[in-house]
Symmetry: C2
Subunit: 302 residues, 2 copies
């Protein structure tokens, strides 16, 4: 019995340590802690909530990597690359279960509701991506996708923190909006880096999105400016690029076009909206940190 318990712990711990080691910026729990402290939430409840948010995020990444068949994340092999699909599914489910348990331990019904709603939005987004047509070039489709994929959990990170403080409904709504806009900017910058970053820094091959049939903002900008480009034509006709040479060719042209800079400007517009929300709050050290974190999002290079 003891051997089995130990074996179990060793193997699962190996999986979890692997996930912990793979790093990440922990930006979501940081947002939760800063917003909660700024609004005077109870510290222990806040820490439970922040852990719940980060575990939910990690759970979605684990299943995501399995779905995409991704072998690297943050430059480190995914669970998926080293474990059976079954073990990967279960590790994700384990993290979901722990996240739900921690969310319940906040003893806040609004938190639990937003937690469940956010999970629904994230999973629906993934289902749309899997069952929907690939290589869609509509801007509203892009924004809906990155809201589901990223901004919804940023919104939950800030919104849940406000919900366990004494904030009233209007203030909760403002902080949800702050998180949402920050999340949109975060994902746009991520999408830019997928095209402009160095593989060594990204920890994954460049142009991954396009290769997976995902058309991101810089690509959409390029299509609007150069619709006559034969590669633009392929995408605008609702088809995907057929080979690696075309993908790398289009990326090269995008990098040399204003499309990248336009995407940066769009991210800055979201950042401005987020800061407008923040500036309605009284000055405090936490507000200052949140402002710095917000600027950091648009300036990061990995």
């Amino acid at each position: 019995m003891r051997v089995q318990a130990e074996g179990y712990h060793t193997d699962l711990q190996a999986a979890l340590e692997h996930l912990l080691k793979s790093g990440g910026k922990r930006i979501r729990p940081t947002l939760t802690l800063l917003v909660g402290r700024m609004l005077g939430a109870a510290e222990s409840q806040l820490i439970t909530l922040a852990a719940s948010i980060e575990l939910l995020h990690t759970a979605t990444l684990v299943h995501d990597d399995l779905i995409d068949g991704a072998l690297l994340r943050r430059g480190i092999p995914t669970l998926n690359a080293r474990w059976s699909p079954g073990a990967t599914v279960l590790t994700g489910d384990f993290l979901f279960a722990r996240a739900a348990k921690l969310a319940a331990e906040t003893n806040s019904i609004p938190v639990m509701r937003l937690f469940a709603e956010t999970l629904t939005i994230i999973v629906n987004g993934e289902i749309s991506q899997m069952f929907g047509q690939p290589c869609q070039t509509a801007l509203d489709h892009y924004y809906r996708r990155i809201y589901a994929k990223t901004a919804s959990l940023f919104e939950a990170s800030t919104g849940c923190a406000a919900m366990i403080s004494t904030a009233d409904d209007a203030l909760i709504a403002r902080l949800r909006h702050f998180g949402r806009e920050l999340g949109m900017a975060f994902q746009i910058v991520d999408d830019i880096l997928d095209l402009t970053g160095e593989e060594a820094q990204l920890g994954k091959p460049i142009g991954n999105d396009l290769r997976q049939g995902i058309v991101t903002l810089p690509v959409i900008n390029y299509l609007h400016t150069y619709p006559e480009d034969p590669l633009s034509q392929v995408l605008l006709q609702g088809k995907c690029l057929q080979n690696e040479a075309d993908i790398l060719g289009l990326i090269e042209r995008i990098r040399q076009s204003p499309a990248i800079e336009e995407a940066h400007q769009e991210a800055e517009r979201f950042i401005k909206n987020a800061l407008d929300d923040l500036y309605t709050l009284p000055e405090s050290p936490e507000r200052q940190y949140l402002e710095e974190l917000t600027w950091f999002v648009t300036r990061r290079r990995t």
Copy 2:
């Protein structure tokens, strides 16, 4: 856009309809409804809860089939047999998310806590099974496994229903115990049927458990009575049976031994405990239905 939305709905609906069509006895939500009505819970809250329980159950089945690589459940191809692993993972996650959302809509913190705890127990059980040694023959290991796999959700089905009624802590504990004992009996009968049932009725090949390295109660009973049998020896030495002939051979000997009847008697002991809980409650039509349901569990043949 509309095409994509439609495409999405059609495909996901196909998956969900497939799951709905595949039937099942809906015993868990029935327990929830009967216990809740017996204790005067609000009907709309109860229906939300019952749906949440059934969706959680279905979600675990979907991921389970992926993990086991099962191609048939209830005689119908699993999602896993017809869809990619990614689509199966996402369908399970979608059902988890919906279940969590419905649990949150009960507006009951104890319900949400028990929901999250139960999910944790179920997933931990699956992890133990995957990472632990196969073909374990200890009785306490067997009971822990079937509690995690089945009885924990039966306990939640009855316990959560009590939690949204006016039941006090003692009564809630008694109804959780009722569900737990009923769930243990249910799984023992399931495990007997895996050895004695007809393939056509089971909807899957006979002896599936043993083939997957799972030693169930009838097998454990046989090992205790016939430890000198060479096939018993293999299992008692901590090894698995090596080939199909040995598996079918052992099953045949178990079927002709008292091991099956002993397992039935053990299920009846759990049923008796469950009924003892039930009989502490005043008579009512719901109590009567629950009693009939409890007897049905030990008498079913599929």
